[in-house]
């Protein structure tokens, strides 16, 4: 590992602490981190820590719902759990984890020396720590954590205690962090690609993140706006959402979901990117329909802006509104279907092997598609009247967010960790982790479809006796799923972080393509300090 050299000829004086020698040591390495790899690691560890906190909340929910009746918590605390589980998983776990992947992989994949704004990168990570502490710490504020659901619907938010303000502040900070991260990613991708890597030669992960970053910049300010309106309603006498002063509670939902639906794609598009890298690598065949993948991703992103009110069929929209949002939503299944078909066509007549990354990728395609189909069913307004705000919806979005986003992150971890850590993970343990996760996931969430069809509403601390068996089953599955992730960290991640395991070769996967496999394992502290000369496909380095 060498000192930070400055390939772009900035004066050394700008670099204060790190222009001396060697990689920074001890806490300074992390607190003052400007290296994209270190920041990527920080993001991933932070996201995993939040995943555990959110997971514990989920298990508390499932423990309470194991049997009818209130055994562990009162309904007030239960609502705090569901709210904080949602907020922490969305804003603390999934979004930062993908930013972690972006930090690690985008510069490596496009042959850049680092992210464009290294210090802003540091800032956007460290902003999240106080925000997350404030969010998680809201449990200890008077009145407890916010209990209005992660969707923060007005006017229930107007009844919340001071922790609501803390949560709003935390979301503002997390939003600012996301916007900075997105700007960084866009600038890096547009300006720092190695010569010869044209846009249409970029790896799919880079493409999907470019589109995701634009989505983030478009919608995070909308979220900031709507929660600021909530804040002023609470404290400064405005009545945006308070009907007593002429406000409109439904307007909150429109603005929130104008953010919220693109947000859904923010959490899944990078996942599509990771899968589009892994499937070709283990099928030993080029990605089928690269161009159509790019177009499909863009279409999904554009359509995501005109479907938001399908979350609101039961608010009482005019019939034309309901029909418009129904048609637009069903339309999204077309580009999503194209992606699934492309992945399968990539596998078709390949020469497949099933190491853990591929297992998670195939598991993703299989289970995510189930979530896609339930999404199509929910998109039908008449059926949604039965299912809205019930457990079918809970099942649906966990199929796309857990089996979708989380599975691909595991796939991505297994795929890239040899490059990150320099050692191979333990393949047997990886496989145990995969099957354990896949089975317990389905045991947890599949019965929820039945609960939803039978009419069990979500966010209920207690339920009629007839729902007892499926709830018990889901709770058993949830605990198994939770322990699988602890196993993953202790027995897969931790050993590789400590460097235990077989040394990883530069190319651990014989058919994986891309510039990240052109640097040694583990990737040196600084890579591509001078722009590499690429071959015609922009997947190989001819000369550094």
């Amino acid at each position: 590992m060498s000192a930070v050299l400055d390939p772009h000829g900035h004066t050394a004086g700008d670099h204060g602490h790190d222009d001396h020698h060697g990689a920074p040591h001890g806490w300074r390495r992390w607190v003052y981190a400007t290296n994209h790899k270190d920041i990527g690691t920080l993001y991933l560890l932070f996201a995993f820590a939040m995943l555990m906190i959110g997971g514990v909340l989920a298990l508390l929910i499932r423990a309470e719902l194991f049997q009818p009746g209130l055994q562990l918590v009162n309904p007030e605390l239960f609502n705090q759990f569901t709210t904080m589980h949602g907020l922490i998983m969305v804003f603390g776990a999934i979004m930062p984890a993908f930013v972690g992947f972006a930090n690690w992989m985008i510069p490596l994949q496009i042959g850049a020396s680092d992210m464009a704004f290294a210090r802003m990168n540091n800032f956007s990570f460290w902003l999240m720590i106080p925000a997350a502490a404030m969010l998680a710490g809201s449990f200890f504020m008077p009145g407890g954590a916010p209990a209005a659901g992660w969707t923060l619907y007005a006017p229930l938010t107007l009844q919340m205690g001071p922790s609501m303000d803390a949560a709003i502040f935390a979301l503002h900070i997390l939003g600012a962090s996301s916007i900075m991260g997105s700007i960084n990613i866009i600038v890096t991708i547009l300006n720092m690609r190695a010569p010869g890597m044209t846009m249409m030669k970029m790896p799919m992960f880079v493409w999907t993140w470019l589109i995701t970053a634009y989505l983030l910049i478009a919608v995070m300010p909308v979220l900031a706006g709507v929660i600021t309106m909530t804040l002023t309603d609470r404290h400064f006498g405005t009545t945006f959402f308070n009907p007593a002063g002429g406000g409109d509670p439904v307007m909150f939902q429109h603005i929130f979901w104008f953010f919220g639906h693109p947000e859904v794609y923010i959490m899944i598009l990078p996942a599509f990117g990771i899968i589009s890298q892994i499937v070709p690598a283990f099928s030993r065949k080029r990605l089928f329909g690269y161009a159509s993948m790019v177009y499909a991703t863009s279409s999904i992103a554009i359509l995501s802006f005109i479907v938001w009110a399908h979350h609101m069929y039961t608010t009482g929209m005019p019939v034309t509104g309901q029909l418009f949002f129904m048609y637009a939503t069903m339309l999204i299944s077309v580009p999503t279907g194209v992606k699934v078909f492309n992945w399968i066509a990539t596998m078709w007549k390949g020469s497949m092997t099933f190491e853990t990354p591929m297992l998670f990728a195939v598991g993703f395609i299989f289970v995510f598609t189930m979530g896609g189909f339930t999404g199509l069913i929910l998109a039908m307004a008449p059926i949604d009247l039965q299912l809205q705000d019930g457990y079918y919806v809970v099942a649906h979005f966990h199929y796309v967010l857990v089996a979708g986003s989380l599975f691909t992150m595991f796939a991505g971890y297994y795929y890239w960790s040899p490059k990150w850590t320099g050692v191979m993970y333990n393949e047997t343990r990886g496989k145990i982790h995969f099957w354990w996760t896949l089975i317990s996931f389905n045991v947890t969430f599949f019965p929820m479809h039945f609960l939803g069809l039978a009419g069990m509403p979500r966010r209920y601390a207690d339920y009629p006796m007839q729902f007892a068996d499926f709830n018990a089953l889901a709770s058993v599955g949830a605990f198994a799923f939770g322990f699988a992730q602890v196993y993953f960290f202790l027995f897969v991640v931790l050993p590789t972080m400590r460097g235990k395991g077989e040394p990883a070769p530069q190319r651990p996967w014989d058919a994986a393509e891309g510039l990240e496999w052109e640097v040694p394992s583990p990737a040196p502290f600084h890579t591509f300090e001078t722009p590499p000369k690429l071959d015609a496909t922009a997947t190989k380095v001819l000369a550094f």
Binding site: Q67, P68, G69, L70, P75, G144, Y153, P155, L156, Q159, P243, G246, G247, D248, P249, S283, K285, R286, F288, G289, T314, G316, Q322, L323, M326, M330, S333, V334, V338, I344, M347, W348, G350, S351, T353, F354, M370, F373, L376, I377, M380, A381, P382, L385, Q386, Q388, D389, T428, I432, F450, A454, G455, M456, P457, R459, D462, M465, Q466, A468, L473
Partner: protein, 387 residues
């Protein structure tokens, strides 16, 4: 590995055995959920029937596509493995195929949308109703007002049976009643085969009025009115629950609709009108302490006990009434004002929908119960004056 699988096997067996001998001796609730119900409720209206049909229609199409697509994938996984010596092909593009699998799903989606459109239009047509009822969501109960049609003028509040709420608090141990959390004091009564329009609104936060067997779900939004409708095709009891998170007692505000024949409905309406006439309290009546406290006990049990508890001690953020300065204060107007306007941003809701007599009774009750022995008496006239 073998050992591990053995253990997993044993665990799965135990789980299966435990599920089969399920500890809950509960039966299906007609009009409500069935034990381990797998699909939508049996439909009691045309709309719900159509929804059930659409759901099957979608489920079958999706399952067929799923089986075909993943049949192809698993065939490929089976045949095109390196371990069976398959050599990778080199194709990676085909405009024709790409166009085909964009157009075909597009056509399928249009075919799906056609029947759905019909159902949307039908479910939105609330015109020409025989009976119009306003359902108002309160934290945490439903208020029903018969606005137009037979029974016009009837109005009452429907609350979860407090015994059920207490069972829930006690962990529902040994409870095996079929309508757990669905039993209310006053069900909504409607005639069979009549178009009933439900207007929803709310008093505090958003609630949602839903009855799965009727295929209706409509948010009740404070400050706004929305509507939906149903025409029940058979008599019987039908159940639903609030479907929009509305605060801590969200799980405890069920909906019970009793569908009765036209003659039964007429009898019920007469009955209600008589009762209402009898109940109509004269707010200027002067009450004796004992009578008022007795009445207050009932009002407390129906409205206050869920939060303030039977002991009057409250719980967590809920303030105690027992020994509270406001309750003991000789100035009655302080407590009256809190009941009329609410407190703490609505954590203590406003109760102005209750009658003057009910409010006077419940205040008198809290002033003379538990350790509160003030002997003070609040007359309905005082409440009326404070409104």
């Amino acid at each position: 590995m073998n050992k591990l699988f053995g253990k997993l096997n044993a665990a799965a067996l135990m789980l299966g055995a435990w599920l089969a001998s399920s500890a809950w001796a509960v039966n299906d609730l007609p009009g409500g959920p069935a034990v381990r119900q797998l699909n939508l409720h049996p439909a009691a209206t045309k709309i719900a029937e159509e929804q059930a049909w659409l759901h099957w229609f979608m489920l079958i199409i999706c399952t067929v596509i799923f089986v075909v697509v993943f049949g192809v994938m698993f065939y490929s996984i089976w045949k095109h493995r390196r371990s069976v010596g398959h050599k990778p092909a080199t194709f990676h593009e085909s405009v024709k195929v790409e166009i085909a699998w964009t157009i075909v799903p597009f056509v399928i989606v249009i075919l799906m949308a056609l029947p759905a459109t019909k159902a949307v239009v039908a479910s939105k047509d609330t015109s020409n109703a025989d009976l119009t009822i306003k359902a108002t969501g309160y934290q945490w109960k439903w208020g029903y007002d018969y606005i137009k049609g037979e029974g016009e003028g009837i109005g009452f509040v429907s609350t979860l049976d407090n015994e059920h709420r207490e069972m829930s608090n006690n962990g529902a141990k040994g409870v095996d009643i079929d309508n757990y959390l669905l039993k209310v004091d006053n069900p909504l009564v409607v005639p069979v085969d009549k178009k009933v329009r439900i207007i929803t609104t709310a008093n505090d936060v958003i609630h949602a009025f839903a009855v799965p067997a009727f295929g209706i779900k409509q948010d009740a939004i404070p400050g706004f009115v929305r509507d939906t409708w149903f025409r029940a095709e058979r008599t019987g009891d039908f159940y639903g629950q609030c479907q929009e998170l509305c605060g801590k007692e969200h799980a405890y505000m069920p909906i019970h609709v009793k569908v009765v024949s036209a003659p039964d409905y007429a009898i019920w309406v007469q009955d209600q009108q008589k009762k209402m006439a009898a109940k109509l309290d004269d707010p200027s009546k002067v009450w004796a302490l004992d009578d008022l406290v007795k009445r207050g006990e009932k009002v407390y049990a129906a409205n206050c006990v869920a939060c303030h508890q039977p002991t009057g001690k409250g719980a967590g953020p809920i303030k105690a009434l027992d020994g509270a300065a406001v309750v003991l204060d000789a100035d009655n107007t302080k407590q009256i004002r809190i009941l009329l306007n609410g407190q703490n941003n609505g954590s203590m809701p406003a109760w102005k929908q209750l009658s003057d007599t009910d409010l006077a009774a419940v205040i008198s009750y809290t002033k003379n119960n538990w350790s509160n022995k003030t002997g003070q008496l609040v007359q309905p006239a005082e409440v009326k004056a404070a409104r």
